[in-house]
Structure formats: C-alpha cells, structure tokens
Amino acid sequence: MMHRREWIYGWLFLSPALLFLFTFTHYPAVKTIVSSFFSTPRGKRPAKFIGIENYQALIQDEVFWKVLTNNFWFAVGTIPISVGLALLMALWVNSKLKGTTLSRIAFFAPTVLPLIAVANIWLFFYTPGFGLIDQFRSGLFGLPAINLLGNPDTVLAAMIVVAIWKEAGFFMIFYLAALQSIPPVLKEAADVEGASNFYYLRKILFPLLMPTTLFVSINAVINSFRLVDHIFVMTEGGPDNASSLLLYYIYETAFKYWQTGYAATLTVVMLILLSVLAIGQFFLFDRKVHYQ
C-alpha cells in the first residue's frame, strides 16, 4: 500500500517539471520530425505529406552543404583551441602567481558578457580603417586597411576568434573548479619523488582532469552548433554565406523565407548530428576517464 502512495506522490512532484519538459521540448521535437515530412503550408494550402521530398531537396541544396562545411571548420577551429586555452588559463590562474584576482576577472569577463555584446566589441576591433586591428596595422607597420568581415576567405576565421574569446573563459571556470578539488599534497608527493612539472601535468593532472575535459568538450561541440548570436550582429551569414552556420541557416529558412517544412528537415539533421557527436564522445572518452 505504502508503495502505491509514494508512487503517486512521486509523479505529483514530477508533474510540473514534466509538463514543461513535454510542452517545450519533447512535443516540439516530435512535431519537428513530423513536419520534416510535410510541405510548407501557404495561405489556404495546408501542409501535405510529401514523404522524403524535403530530404531529397536537402541533398541537392548547395547552401546546406556550404553551411555544414562552415560549421565543421567552425567546430574544428573553436573546440580544441578554446578547450586548450581554458586549461592553460585555469592552470595559470590556479597557480600562486601574483595578480591572480585580476587575471581571474579578466579571463572571466567574456563569460558574463552576452554574446551580442561580445560581438559588438569585436565589431569595433574588426572595423576596416578605424578598428583596433587596423589602427595597430597602420600605426605600427604602416599597412593598408583590411576588411576581415567583408572577405569570404577571412570571415569565418574572424568568427572563430570571437567564439574562442567568448568560450575559453567559460570553460576555464570548470577547469578551475576541477583544479581546486585536486589536493595540493599530490603535487608535493610528486615533487618529493622528483617528478618535473611537465611529468606531473602529463601523468597526474591531465588524467585527473579527464571528466572535466569530457564535460567541457561535449559542451564545446554543442556550442559550436548553438552559438550564432554573433553572426546576427557581425555578418548575417555573409558574404556569400561564407560565415553562415547550420543554426543560422535554419533561422533564415524558417523566419526569413518562411519555408517551415524545409527548416524542420534541417533541424532534424542537426539533432541527429548533435546526438551522434555527444554519444560518440562519451564512448570515445569513457575508457580514459577516471571518475573519483
């Protein structure tokens, strides 16, 4: 009898959270998958089932392949560098060097700023002629102005730099927390045995930070698909879609061109991609991760 009562209480307590989860996550997800097999409703024409037509269109869509490639390079450019940088900064901040409070704030600042604000700051850096970068170039070396955001060859790299700047500080917090939880006596034990700093880093610190690295890199992968705010402010995907990413393309398709059926198809692709990547990472890392 008791069991049954507890069971009912359990569900009662869960129900508010479940309600929100279903309305705002599960239902839309299922709806998206369903929509991806329907045409876009227009005026009096309701959406009708068209099977995999949307998916066939997707394969033919050059812009889709372009933004997917962009996203690939964007991920490859941001993830390793922002994670690596985060680790370096955390090691630096965690060490007993002077001025750590100041550097903690400095490294953390990009994290508290909204990405839109970050984008605005970088817009100022990148502005041809007047921006900080060009000021340096002409002031120090007498070089001509360059338009990093206007050139298809450089715009993606410029976006990658912004994302790294924004992300590294955030990931640093996780590394910092992990480093603080490693007892300093381990370093002393290694010192007594004559281990160099590098040996300690390689054999003790890195393995102990593995759970954090897994967590941070899954977040980094998701963020590389999720973070597109700066594209709105800085380039709107241009020039010639050179800086457009998958999510931004989905936004454009759905809310600029109102092709909701096709947008749903693109979203499904993104969902599958993210799930595969996250699960893959778990399996890849799992054997190497030591959980305390």
Binding site: P183, L186, A189, V192, E193, G194, A195, Y199, I204, H290
Partner: protein
Amino acid sequence: MQEDQIRGQAIALNDVTKSWDGTLAVDRMNLNVEPGTFTVLLGPSGCGKSTSLRIIAGLEHADSGEIAIGGKSVGHLPPAKRDIAMVFQSYALFPHLSVAENILFGLKVRRASKADQRTRLNKTADLLGLSELLARKPSQLSGGQQQRVALGRAIIAEKPICLMDEPLSNLDAKLRNTMRTEIRDLQQALGFSMVYVTHDQAEAITMADQVVLMKEGRVEQSGTPREIYEQPATTFVAGFIGTPPMNVLPGSALAAATGQANANLDSITLGVRPEHVSVSEHSGVPAIVEHVEYLGADILADCRVGNEKFIARIEGHASLSPRAEVKLHWPAEQMHCFDRSTGERTPSDKDLFNHLLSA
C-alpha cells in the same frame, strides 16, 4: 639480510626559524638525528611539527638557519635532490593509478629499468602484504591498505631518510597499534633514518629512539623516551607525557594540605606520576576521592588535594569509593621538582619530600 640494509643519513637542523605573516611557526629549532635512528617530533596541535618536517623535506623554506643531511647543507635544494621519501597524513595516493603504479611512481620518474622495477615491486609488495592488491585502485582499498601503499611508495627506492607526518591518524585504534609495530619493524629492518610526526605521546614513547617534544615552535625537550618519561625537563613535558600525565601542583598547595608550611615549598612546583601513588592508612597527603574509574588491571582515582586535582593509578584489587577521605603516599625519589616561575626542572630536595610525606 645484510645487503638489505640502507645506510641511514644524519639530519641536523641548526637554529631553524620559520614564520607565517608574523606568527612564528618554528622558532630557532635545533635537531640532531643520528643515522639509522627513529626520531619522533611530538607536541600539541599547532606547535610546528609539520612545518619542521616540511622544512626538512624541502616543501617549505626556512626563513633562517641551516639544514644538513648527511653532513651536507641542503637548505637550497628542492625536495627531489634531498634523497628523502615521505608519507603524508592523507597518504597522497594518485587516485587514477593502480597500487603498483602508485608504488612505482618514483622509479618511473627516474626511469629505472623494467627489471629493476619488477624486482623491487615484488619485494616491497611481499614485505607489506600487498601482492594480491597490485591491480586495484586506491579507492578500492581499506584505510590500512592505503596506508601500506603509501609506505610502499616511500620505501621502494630505499632512500636513506623517510619522513612521516601523522601517518596513522586516519586509522582506527586497533589498526593504529598494528601499524605502529609494522612501521617500527620496517625501519629497523631497512635501517633508514626516520623522522616521524605525531601528537600522540603513547605512539611517540613506543616507537622512538629519540623523542623531540615541541611547544609553540620551540624544542621543549629532546631525549630517549625513558629520559623524557623519567626526567621531564619542564612542567609542560611532565604534563604531556604519560596516560594519564604527571600530577603537577604548586609546592604551597601540598604544604597547605599537609600543614607543613615551608618557605622552600613556595618557590617550586612538584610533580608525581599517578602510577607511583599508593593509598596509605597511616601517613601521607590527605585527599578526597571524587571519582573512581575501574580499568581492570588498575583503578584511576580522581582525587582532590586541597583545591588541586590529583590522579592516582592504583592496583585494581584496592577498593575505593567516591567521597572517601584517604592518605596518598609515594616514594620520595619519584618526586619531580620544577622552578615555579620558569617551569624548569630543578634538583629535588629529598629531605624536604620525606618530611612532607611523613605527615
């Protein structure tokens, strides 16, 4: 077994001082450890034991003074160059490495040959009874087993000096007793010099060749356990050593209790160990029994002499009841005498004591 002997090294601290933001942790400390002996740094919490040990290890730098190992000054050397091994209170095992890898850590750092690693690992694991556990992670071990792994990591390289900071404080009482003997046997068998930190006086007395009792960063007394026990240099030492420790009370209190006023008694403090006290019918110091604790082999009687607390440890078959009025007696040669103002030991006045006790 002669080739198993490591040659221990001497350790000498000369006027070593260390302070943290103005508070003295170690104050002009002098210490001599003979090669191959077991020295215990003993003292209450915060007296600077760990700091001294860490200065010897090179994990902390002294503000002034000299540190020598094997006759060579090592004050400027990092821990790795001092040829020492260390066991930490928290064991400091690497949680992601197996027992074998933990024990071999130092050898791997120094790139010892695989064959050398294997023979030494086998020998160490045999010695410490860890052979079955080599593949486990530290989290899969009991406290005592973790302790042994930490010991293994310290002894595998057969360093001439081993430093330990309260290595047994995380273990339960029974295991602590076993490990005490094990550590002592290990040190004797291998022959290294040991500096061992504890705040447990029983541990110090049972293990040490030399006890160094510290108080507020200074060495209060150093000597063999017997010297420390039989001839405490100060009232602090007298009150720190022994279970229960020595009764220490002003001479004037004893004078008042026995009604034997004597000017000499006013300037001294007297000490008597509880185990030397007996209950006498005829003569002795009058006292009131307040509380009786039966320990089996003997009885601990909390008494009051005048206004001073006084503990007697007497044979178990004696019968005492609370609120009884008794006379306490002890041999005059078992009395200790200290200067009342400095607390330092002064020669005893036998006649005076005999006079006191004959009351």
